[in-house]
């Protein structure tokens, strides 16, 4: 009898737990803010400014979501996560969404039980060398000493690439970007390899950036994107379509500045995006103007990009593959219909 009770209680706890997880949107509305997992600090993507306010490419996605869901871009609680704690934080419900330059991979999407809602930045592993080495291609790097961060996928990618091309290398293992720069600049290694966005952040503070060149080869695919837990499709939809709204806004020429006038636009897709027509918002449990608020919070994809990591920022990252599909990139949002 007692044992039965215990079982029943256990089942009730388990059941209520899954119920509690199913309504992230209601939870978020009830607590009044979105718990957003970000990095502890990555140049251009998420880092607090001098006043302590978080800023960056990933941060702006959190802000757009908060604007869409709660109507206020500042209603975000940022939880800094490390590479080791990020997935636990999301799985345990400590954060509602993880926007932490996380690479979309098969096992993370399936085995870990997460749902990547899209790609907000296509990164890839690259190589930086000194110009006076005269190297034009990564295929000429046979026998080079390579500075590489330990315990990352970049280490594995590097080994794969060199083995596939029958080349050898000497790894110089380092802990972080700062250490890599030190080693690379002092000549301890010929090559520094990491994600190209990281190379950009390193290159800009070298004593003479023009004496260094990032080789054209990209040896890995690192599609970085926000992710949510399995099991709450509505919340996943909200995250996915917030990201798509930012991309679509750029495609349609809707910016932070002109979005107020867009309700009177003649373009039906713009009218659907800003909620002047149709009831797209209601389909994901939000009001009609959710996407308008998301874009108004920090601008469309292009504005967010230019502000945080674009050519006019210290990182000086050109759009490259992250341009819209209409402009030679691979950024492509499904239609708002």
């Amino acid at each position: 009898m007692n044992f039965k009770h215990l079982l029943a209680a256990g089942a009730a706890v388990a059941f209520s737990a899954s119920v509690a997880q199913a309504g992230t949107l209601d939870d978020v509305k009830a607590k009044g803010y979105i718990d957003c997992g970000v990095t502890t600090g990555l140049a251009g993507f998420a880092s607090p400014d001098d006043q302590g306010n978080w800023a960056g490419f990933d941060v702006d996605f959190c802000r757009a979501m908060a604007a869409a869901v709660l109507g206020d871009a500042s209603k975000v609680k940022y939880t800094p996560t490390t590479g080791k704690t990020r997935f636990t934080a999301l799985a345990s419900g400590e954060v509602d969404v993880l926007a932490r330059n996380t690479t979309w991979t098969f096992s993370r999407d399936t085995d870990l039980g997460f749902e990547f809602v899209g790609v907000n930045y296509y990164d890839g592993q690259g190589f930086m060398v000194k110009k006076d080495l005269g190297v034009k291609s990564a295929l000429e790097l046979d026998g080079a000493s390579v500075c590489i961060q330990t315990g990352t996928t970049t280490e594995l990618n590097l080994a794969d690439y060199f083995r596939a091309n029958n080349m050898s290398f000497t790894p110089i293992v380092i802990e972080d970007n700062a250490e890599a720069r030190q080693n690379y600049e002092s000549g301890a290694c010929d090559v520094y390899t990491t994600d190209r966005s990281g190379l950009a952040a390193t290159r800009v503070v070298l004593s003479d950036p023009d004496a260094h060149v990032v080789l054209p080869e990209i040896v890995s695919k690192e599609p970085l994107g926000p992710l949510v837990r399995h099991g709450d499709n509505q919340w996943g939809d909200i995250a996915r379509w917030t990201l798509n709204a930012l991309i679509t806004a750029e495609e349609l020429g809707v910016t932070q500045g002109n979005i107020g006038e867009m309700a009177s636009s003649n373009n039906p897709e713009i009218r659907r995006l800003v909620g002047a027509e149709g009831d797209l918002g209601a389909m994901i449990g939000l009001d009609a103007e959710w996407a308008m608020r998301a874009v108004a919070a920090g601008g469309n994809y292009s504005e967010i990009y230019e502000r945080n990591i674009g050519p006019n920022t210290p990182l000086q990252l050109a759009r490259g593959v992250n341009a819209l599909w209409t402009q030679g990139g691979i950024l492509y949002s499904p239609p708002f219909r």
């Binding site: 990555l42 952040a201 210290p314």
Partner: protein
């Protein structure tokens, strides 16, 4: 008679020793230039020292930049001249180094806690400063809760949400006071302690729930040097008493169960690295706890750090206990003292005095170990600095950042070490070794 005396009636004046037999010259000759190879060594060593000193002065004061708005003011290729330290970076980020993401308009709260901490500790640490008798109980009984209330504001207490909870706790409070007074009247220390203890706990609960009526600032807003200090202060405050209890428990051969528990705890914790304990507290604890019961991240780290250092402290204290001759225990017994009195009055004061250097070593180790919490995403001083150099405004400022953070750690640890020497000298009453 002639005036000429054969014997000198007065001493000839004492001449000063030759310059190379006394004073600084002699010291130099004896210590630095006594042989030719020592002279060479001296010259080389001082050349190196002077060069190092000049480089440091040059880096920190001469070529350093005191005002900067971004890394462009601090990198040679933008400024056009060699640049040493970028103190402008530290200046711009100073508030964050100190308080992390704590809300700017509430900085006064941790500052008050800091002032109270110093004001309370000084009379306890130095007997020249009066007020120890008042400061000690205040620091133990009131300061911890006051600082929690100041830093955090009100804490939600589910017990106090319902009328029933309030009624029961209020009743317990009154009963506790009554029992305490009754015990006091009848000279029954047990009753007094239990009664007042219960009343005190409930009082603390109410106080924390009230939280001085301040705005709540969640622990994820704690960071920087403030977080480092919180972690070490709690770690030190918990580990010393807990360590003593564990050490006594481990030696309590007449209570095998307690002894086994203590040995098990100490050996288990000491066999595991702190990182593992922090990971355990972060990831495993939520699995064991029922859904909905969730400890704060900071509390988990605090528990992990405190337990870890307690195990080490226990072994340090046990070392001290073992150094006390058996005669001291027997003498205490012969005086008719019970266990707690003999420990309190005879054994522990001697044992702790012996192990002061080790205790302080453990404290210093703990202080530095707090940097490990950055792995579980808590923004301690070091991680705050690392975070600052990922801001696109301050890329590449790691030299200045690391040196600045290193200086803070140096000052704190060196201070602790000097205080331990002071304490040793002050307590150097008995057997000189």
């Amino acid at each position: 008679m002639s005036d000429i005396a054969y014997v000198k009636t007065e001493l000839s004046p004492t001449l000063p020793p030759p310059p190379n037999a006394a004073g600084p010259m002699k010291w130099l000759k004896d210590n630095l230039f006594s042989t030719w190879y020592e002279a060479i060594g001296t010259v080389v060593a001082s050349a190196i020292l002077i060069y190092l000193f000049m480089s440091i002065v040059d880096w920190a004061f001469v070529t350093s930049v005191w005002e900067a708005s971004s890394f462009e003011d601090c990198l040679e290729r933008y400024t056009g001249h060699p640049v040493g330290a970028c103190w402008g970076f530290v200046d711009a980020r100073f508030n964050q180094f100190m308080f992390g993401p704590y809300p700017t308009d509430s900085y006064w709260r941790p500052i008050i806690v800091g002032i109270l901490l110093v004001a309370g500790l000084l009379p306890i640490m130095f007997e020249q400063i009066p007020g120890r008798k008042i400061a000690a109980p205040l620091m133990l009984g009131i300061f911890p809760w006051l600082s929690v209330a100041l830093l955090h504001g009100p804490i939600e207490m589910t017990t106090l949400d319902s009328g029933l909870g309030i009624g029961v706790t209020a009743l317990l409070f009154v009963l506790g006071i009554a029992l305490g007074l009754y015990g006091r009247k009848n000279f029954n220390p047990g009753q007094t302690m239990i009664g007042f203890g219960v009343a005190y706990c409930i009082g603390v609960m109410y106080f924390l729930a009230w939280g001085l009526g301040l705005e709540t600032i969640a622990t994820n807003k704690y960071g920087g040097f403030m977080l480092t200090l919180i972690l070490s202060a709690v770690g030190i405050g918990v580990s010393l008493p807990l360590g003593i209890v564990l050490a006594l428990g481990r030696r309590a051969s007449n209570m095998p169960l307690i002894q086994m528990l203590c040995i098990g705890f100490i050996e288990l914790v000491r066999a595991v690295p702190l990182i593992t304990i922090l990971f355990m507290a972060q990831f495993m604890l939520p699995l064991f706890l029922p859904e909905g019961v969730d400890f704060d991240n900071l509390v988990r780290a605090l528990v992990g750090v405190s337990l870890f250092s307690s195990a080490y402290m226990a072994e340090v204290v046990r070392g001290g206990l073992q150094a006390i001759p058996k005669g001291q225990f027997e003498a205490a017994d012969a005086l008719g003292l019970n266990y707690s009195m003999s420990m309190r009055l005879i054994i522990l004061p001697q044992a702790l005095k012996i192990v002061i250097p080790n205790i302080v070593s453990t404290f210093i180790g703990l202080f530095k170990d707090t940097t490990l919490v950055s792995i579980i995403g808590l923004l301690d001083l070091l991680l705050t600095m690392k975070q600052a150099i990922t801001s696109t405004k301050w890329l590449g400022m790691e030299h200045t950042g690391y040196i600045f953070v290193g200086l803070i750690y140096l000052v704190c640890c060196f201070g602790m070490s000097r205080y331990s020497i002071y304490l040793e000298k002050k307590l150097h009453t008995g057997h000189k070794r």
